[in-house]
Each structure stands twice: as C-alpha cells, then as structure tokens.
C-alpha cells in the first residue's frame, strides 16, 4: 500500500566508470519498519544506502519521499535533516566526543542549552557519559561507533540508515549494539539497515531485501523468513538463508 512506503525508487541506475553498480526497477522502504538490505560483497548495498540517504545524488532514475519526487539538482537540506546515517567505519571530527555528538544539532542552529541537555541524555543511553570530554581520536573502535550512533540519533531522525554498523566491532561491542539498538530506536522511526549479522536480522528485521549484482533478487517479510535456517551453520552464505 502506498501509505506504508516512505521511500520509493523507480528505474534506479548507478553507473561508475562504465560499470553498472545498481540497476533496480522498483524498490521501496516501509515506514516505521526495520528494512534490512543484505547481499554479498559488491552487490551494491552501500551504494543503494548512499542514494536512499541522499548522500549520493549522482544517479539515474527517480526517488520518491512519501510520494513526492526528490529533485536531484537541489541540496534537499530539509529532507536530509530528517535522515541520519550510522556508517560502518565512522568518521569523527577533530574535537571531543561531546563536540561530535552535538554537531548535527549545531548545524541545525539549536540553542546551546538544548544541545547540552540532549547530548547528556543520549550519552547516558549509550553509556558514554564519561567519554564526553575525551578527544575523539583516542577512542577505541567500539567507543567510536557508540559516539557515531549517539550523533545519528540525537536529531531523532525520521529515517535511520545503518551501514554494517557492527562489522568492524569486537564481540562485546556487537552484543551491546544488538541488545541496546531496538531500545534506542523509537516506534516512529524507519530503519534501513545493511547488515551481515544474522542475530540482528533475526532480532530486528521486518522486511529483508536481497541484492545480487546490483539488482533486487528477493524481497521477503519477516513472516516468511525461515529462522530455522539460522541453525544451518555460521558458514552458510546469508543469501542462501533468505
């Protein structure tokens, strides 16, 4: 149904140096759901996420947000400010953790008092309050990712894009992410998640889209996803489980 779709993609093509990275006829993101995008290396997952999050506006085809066509030649600032992205390998700016978490609010001209309050709240949720004054360059991988999650969530985005957020993390950090993530995301939030982690898919997914060679291979809802296949062994390719 149209009202369920927050983002729609039509005849999307992404070509890089004469190579077709993405070729998708039709694809949509369901509102207020956990939308998972899975696929092997080079299947175009991150390229698709970059386009959906408006980080990359250099593509062919059409993108719709709640039925309205997104114009590629514009900054789309208002729309971009409804989105947030958690990257696989987060980039933190020079300065301390507080500065990094506060940045999206500063860019939106929030008052310092509001910024202070919101940063403290989100830092407490992610258990990084004691790191707020620490330089971002001294953080461990897990602490960096927690900071970037806090930075992405501080604006309470309408759509949260997550690009393999746990791939480079240690087991402890992955467990923290998996156990806390669903609590950090509100019911009003739409999540688009690129992930290889079967536990995350099992725990969170509402809909799973499998990409193969830049095209959509399969789309399944959580109801017809065979969870028993998770017991098939860790080496079984994820694509075979869908």
């Amino acid at each position: 149904m149209l009202e369920d779709k927050i983002i729609e993609v039509k005849k999307l093509k992404k070509i890089c140096e004469d190579k077709t990275i993405l070729d998708i006829d039709q694809f949509s993101i369901l509102k207020n759901k956990f939308n998972f995008i899975i696929g092997g290396n080079g299947s175009g997952k991150t390229s698709l996420l970059n386009i959906l999050s408006l980080v990359d506006q250099n593509y062919q085809g059409e993108l719709y947000y709640e039925g309205h066509k997104i114009k590629k030649d514009q900054q789309n600032l208002d729309l971009r400010r409804k989105f947030s992205v958690i990257w696989q390998d987060p980039y933190l700016y020079r300065g301390n953790v507080f500065y990094n978490i506060a940045l999206p609010l500063k860019l939106r001209d929030f008052e310092q008092e509001v910024i202070n309050k919101k940063v403290k709240e989100i830092a407490a949720k992610l258990e990084i309050t004691e790191l707020l004054e620490q330089s971002a360059y001294t953080l461990s991988g897990g602490e960096k990712q927690k900071t970037s999650i806090a930075r992405a969530l501080i604006t309470s985005p309408e759509i949260l894009f997550v690009d393999e957020a746990t791939t480079n993390l240690d087991e402890e950090s992955i467990q923290f992410f998996n156990s806390h993530f669903s609590n950090l995301v509100t019911d009003e939030m739409t999540v688009v998640m690129v992930s290889h982690d079967r536990r995350q898919i099992k725990q969170l997914a509402d809909r799973i889209t499998l990409l193969k060679g830049g095209s959509i291979d399969t789309v399944k809802t959580v109801n017809n996803f065979n969870f028993e296949l998770f017991g098939a062994g860790i080496d079984t390719p994820l694509a075979e489980l869908v």
């Binding site: 408006l54 989105f83 992205v85 390998d89 700016y93 999206p104 860019l107 930075r151």
Partner: protein, 234 residues
C-alpha cells in the same frame, strides 16, 4: 677573526638595544610579508579547495602548471610584475613601482602557487568520509565548507606559514619592485645586501640573525602544527 667576533658582538648589541634603524627595516619587512601572505591566502585557499574537490577537464594541466610554478624564481616574478607596473606597463598609471604595494603584488604572485599546492595536497588527503558524514548530518554547502576548513586547519595554517617564510626571505621581488628605499621599501633581505656592500657588516649580520630566528620560529610552528603532538593524535 677579531673582525668577525667584533661584528657578531656588535650585531647582538644592535638587536638587544632595539636599534631604531634595525626595527624599522624589520617592521617594514613584516608588514609587507604579512600583507602579501594574507592576500595570497584569501585567493589560494578557496582555489585549492576548488581544484582538490572538483573534477574538470583541465585539472591535470592546472596541477602540472601549479607544480611548475612552485619553483618560480623570484627575479622572474620581479621582471613580470615590473613590466606591468612600470611607467610603460598596463598598470603604470597607478604609480606602484618602488612602493610597498608593488612588492606586495609581486610577492602575492610568488606565493599563490605555493600556498595553493600545499592546501590542495592537504584537502586531497582528507578522508572522503568527512564529506559523506557532513552530508549525512544535514550540513548545507556552506556548513560543509566550514567543516572542511576546520578539519584541515592545521595543514592550512602550515601552508600559509610556509608562504610567509618564502616571502620573508625572498630578495628578487623586493629589490626589483621596491627599489630598497629607506623607511619605505627597505626589507630585511634588501637591507642586508645593501649594508654588506656598504661595509656595515655588523648591521647586515644583525638582520641575518633576526631573519634566521624568524625562519626557525616559522619552521618550528609549521613542524608543530603538521607533525607535532596534535597531528600525531590523529
């Protein structure tokens, strides 16, 4: 040997007693060098970002020209600007020859390639994720530019300081376009040349010590900004 020892002692005496003539030469030199570095930086920094961040057909050619101009001899710049601002030149009516402004024009042309190339390298080496993250955080074009400058600030300051060092120590442009007029266009380097020829070795030596100290300070600051504690923490 006594002559040189005496000259060194006299030079140090001139420095520590803040000799008025010495101070005048140094302040003239600093005023001109700071002005030309400031103007060149305003032109070079946006130009460097434009070159580093954009794809265009002539980019390779521009980069080659830019790299070639890094070793531009000061006298070549001097002759070029001289032909523009001398009486018969296209800018002759403005009477810029043998004025501080004349030297500044020459020095700006001299260091634009240097600052542009250094800043270009700094921007080019910045992590691509910086731009993606800024876009994903909801930054406007001007905010992205500001974030980029803030992230690259130490490298940019290093490039500007390198440009300042180059103009402070150059003699070709200052001599040809300034004319070495006392109290007006007499800079550290032109004064050193003149005073040595006149036999005022101690005075020239005192200027040399000051120039060397300034160069050391410039290099120390540049090293600290680019390789020092803050940089190593990245």
């Amino acid at each position: 040997m006594d002559y040189y020892t005496g000259a060194i002692l006299r030079a140090l005496q001139l420095i520590f007693t803040l000799d008025s003539e010495l101070i005048q030469v140094v302040t003239t030199s600093l005023k001109i060098s700071i002005s030309s570095t400031f103007i060149a930086s305003i032109i070079s920094i946006p130009l460097a970002i434009l070159i580093a961040r954009n794809k265009f057909k002539t980019k390779k050619f521009i980069n080659i020209i830019l790299n070639t101009m890094l070793s531009l001899p000061t006298v070549v710049v001097g002759i070029f600007v001289y032909s523009l601002i001398s009486r018969r030149g296209v800018l002759g009516e403005f009477d810029l020859l043998f004025t501080p402004l004349g030297i500044i024009i020459g020095q700006v042309i001299l260091i634009i390639p240097l600052i542009t190339a250094l800043v270009r390298n700094v921007i080019f080496s910045m992590d691509e994720k910086l731009y993606k993250t800024a876009t994903s955080m909801g930054a406007s074009r001007s905010q992205k530019f500001k974030l980029l400058i803030l992230e690259a600030r130490y490298g940019i300051i290093g490039a500007v300081i390198a440009g300042f060092g180059r103009v402070l120590g150059e003699i070709g442009v200052s001599m040809m376009l300034g004319g070495n007029i006392k109290g007006v266009t007499r800079t550290i380097t032109t004064a050193m040349s003149l005073e040595t020829n006149k036999g005022r070795f101690a005075f020239a030596l005192s200027l040399g010590i000051i120039l060397l100290s300034l160069s050391f300070l410039i290099n120390f600051v540049t090293y600290f900004l680019q390789e020092g504690k803050n940089y190593a923490r990245r």
